[in-house]
């Protein structure tokens, strides 16, 4: 195990920023810490960096307990949201700084700066000051400074959030490839679930200082652990309809259908449950079909390659993905059907997922 944080708790005054969080990452793994602002993800990163001390728990890097080590004794590199370049140093001096601190020979430093600068397309900017660079260029300098000394771990705190959206997508791909090349364990903080899905080998989802789920992007997407994860991951997000189970039937205003024996067994004695389904797991029809559910079209969004349709079903909206060019007028009557094999069930009270497994024979 390359990096392991165990049972981390951190309090700021009376507020608990992190509560017993345990995450481990393998050598070369790209772990994304995902959650809304204030969920504790940046605090966790800062604890690993040594910029904050945890109240409880340990941080372990390649078998070494670094919980109380000073930041400069940890051998981790960090990329900050605001880049945090040294404004009084040129690009070359910024990139070379970690090596200069380590008193490497000048010739070696300049050779390394040249090499890393060329790798990140900064060769023509080495003599400039940070304030003369664009946001994307500053981002590259910050990356170059982080990778030049081959640390044991990379920490990245929303490094792409200050870039405009086009550049962000390009840098995202570049970052992922670079991380693959370097094969150094990386912890990456973001509140953007698309970024998390695209970059991560595993995603740790945090909310109010508690780890909600820690798994691969596809598992998090296909088998969310609770209502929060289900709603947070995926764009547009999963449809979540609370309802009740009565004599083997799930019902709510405007919608009811019978449950399978597997589902009923998993649901057990629970009465109030929530149905979840992804927009792509809904079929749409402008004409009525037997067994389909009727709803009013609330809005349609044509994205060119597909159409997102929001239907008003009683007091909630149901979002679905339809093929490009699907037409539906405002307020017209439409029908939908949820693919029964793609349903998610949650306990409305505990918010935990109810796992349905087929009957064993």
């Amino acid at each position: 195990m390359s990096l392991r944080v165990e049972n981390i708790t951190k309090r700021f005054g009376a507020q608990e920023a992190l509560r017993g969080v345990t995450i481990e990452a393998r050598e070369g793994e790209f772990v994304v810490l995902l959650g809304p602002s204030g969920c504790g993800k940046s605090t966790l990163l800062r604890i690993i960096a040594g910029l904050e001390e945890p109240d409880e728990g340990t941080v372990n890097l390649r078998g070494r307990d670094i919980t109380r080590a000073q930041p400069h004794h940890r051998d981790v590199a960090m990329v900050f949201q605001g880049y945090a370049l040294y404004p009084h140093m040129t690009v070359a001096q910024n990139i070379g700084f970690p090596l200069r601190v380590r008193r490497r020979p000048t010739s070696e430093i300049s050779a390394e700066v040249e090499r890393i600068g060329a790798r990140l397309g900064l060769s023509h900017l080495l003599r400039n000051l940070p304030k003369q660079l664009s946001g994307g260029e500053r981002q590259r300098v910050a990356l170059a400074r982080a990778i030049i000394r081959r640390p044991q771990a990379f920490l990245m705190d929303e490094p792409l959030s200050n870039l405009d959206s086009r550049l962000r997508i390009d840098m995202r791909a570049e970052l992922k490839h670079l991380q693959h090349e370097l094969a150094v364990v990386t912890l990456y903080v973001t509140h953007d679930q698309v970024e998390a899905m695209t970059l991560a080998s595993r995603i740790a989802i945090l909310r109010d200082g508690l780890l909600q789920q820690y798994d691969t992007p596809s598992e998090v997407y296909r088998r969310p652990a609770n209502l929060f994860v289900a709603g947070f991951v995926g764009s547009p997000s999963m449809n979540l309809l609370p309802g009740v189970v009565e004599s083997g039937v799930f019902c709510r205003a405007g919608l009811s259908f019978g449950l399978t024996s597997d589902e009923l067994r998993a649901i057990g004695a629970r009465r109030e449950i929530t149905l979840g389904f992804r927009p792509e797991d809904v079929e749409f029809s402008a004409t009525g079909n037997p067994g389909w559910t009727a709803a009013r079209v609330w809005v349609t969004e044509d994205l060119g390659n597909e159409t997102l349709i929001r239907l008003a079903l009683d007091d909630v909206h149901v979002t679905l993905r339809a093929p490009a060019g699907t037409r539906a007028d405002f307020d017209s009557l439409a029908w939908f059907r949820i693919r029964p094999e793609q349903l998610h069930w949650f306990d409305t009270h505990t918010t935990e997922a109810i796992r349905v497994s087929p009957q064993e024979h």
Binding site: P71, H72, M78, A84, Y86, P98, K131
Partner: protein, 273 residues
């Protein structure tokens, strides 16, 4: 109309500010007989440099000048060297409760006491340390005088620096001292320069402590030397004015040299990575 009013106001302010200086400079160049002629001789007098040569030949003004240079330079350097780390610690280290604010206020409160209140204790302390009539004693006192100001000023400048830059340096492998010397120091240099000029001027002009704590020629500073021209029997206006003009020069030079830092120091908050 508006413009002419503005210029008139500016002219009056300037005249009020420059009149004493004009008076000082002309008296320093006049013979005794012309100094208090009535009506005053505004321009039509025979200039003489006698008073200037007198203060350097008869008096020990050169010695006083050197003393002043030594005392103000050393006290300023020491106050900066002590005050910058103190301010940094107050701003960046985790203090329990409200201690950082409390300590900061305590430091500032040292400037609130009228200096005359401290003069007797200081006299007694320096006597015990055998530092009366010595330059090192004066340096110590001026450091104490300027240190609160340095801490308070530098605190503001350091607070304006983005914390992330320092954290980046820590993670790049720099120690706290290294961060202070190689990251913070270069970035607060304009603020430091403005603070240094202020300290130099305060120490250069300091009169009360120097008067009480140094009575011998070897440790007397310029302000005390100038005042010594007021004697029991006469006031040597010419020599006093000449000394005053010479004493004014370094302050003017500091201020001119540091002018751009003053402006940059005031706008330091605009610094961004």
């Amino acid at each position: 109309m508006k413009t002419s009013l503005k210029y008139t106001a500016a002219f009056l302010a300037l005249a009020a500010a420059l009149a004493p200086i004009y008076w000082l400079v002309t008296i320093s160049l006049k013979r005794e007989i012309d100094q208090f002629a009535s009506p005053p001789l505004w321009f039509s007098f025979t200039p003489t440099l006698r008073h200037y040569s007198a203060i350097f030949s008869h008096d020990a003004f050169g010695r006083y000048f050197l003393n002043s240079v030594i005392v103000s330079t050393c006290s300023t350097l020491i106050a900066l060297a002590l005050g910058l780390p103190a301010a940094y610690g107050l701003v960046r280290f985790p203090w329990p409760h409200d201690w950082a604010r409390g300590i900061g206020f305590w430091i500032l409160s040292n400037r609130m006491l009228p200096p005359i209140v401290t003069i007797i204790p200081l006299f007694l302390m320096l006597r015990e340390l055998r530092l009366l009539n010595s330059l090192s004693g004066l340096v110590l006192v001026d450091v104490a005088l300027n240190l609160p100001f340095v801490v308070w000023m530098m605190r503001g400048f350091i607070e304006d620096l983005p914390k992330e830059i320092e954290e980046a340096a820590l993670l790049d492998g720099e120690s706290r001292i290294g961060v202070l010397l190689r990251i913070v120091l270069p970035l607060v240099r304009p603020g430091l320069a403005a603070t240094a000029v202020f300290c130099l001027i305060v120490a250069w002009n300091e009169f009360l402590f120097a008067l009480i704590l140094s009575q011998t020629e070897s440790a007397m500073t310029v302000p005390v030397g100038i005042a010594s021209h007021v004697t029991q029997y006469e006031i040597q206006w010419g020599a006093m004015s000449a000394a005053g003009v010479v004493a004014m020069l370094p302050v003017l030079i500091f201020a001119a040299a540091a002018q751009r830092y003053f402006v940059r120091g005031l706008s330091l908050g605009a610094l961004k990575g």
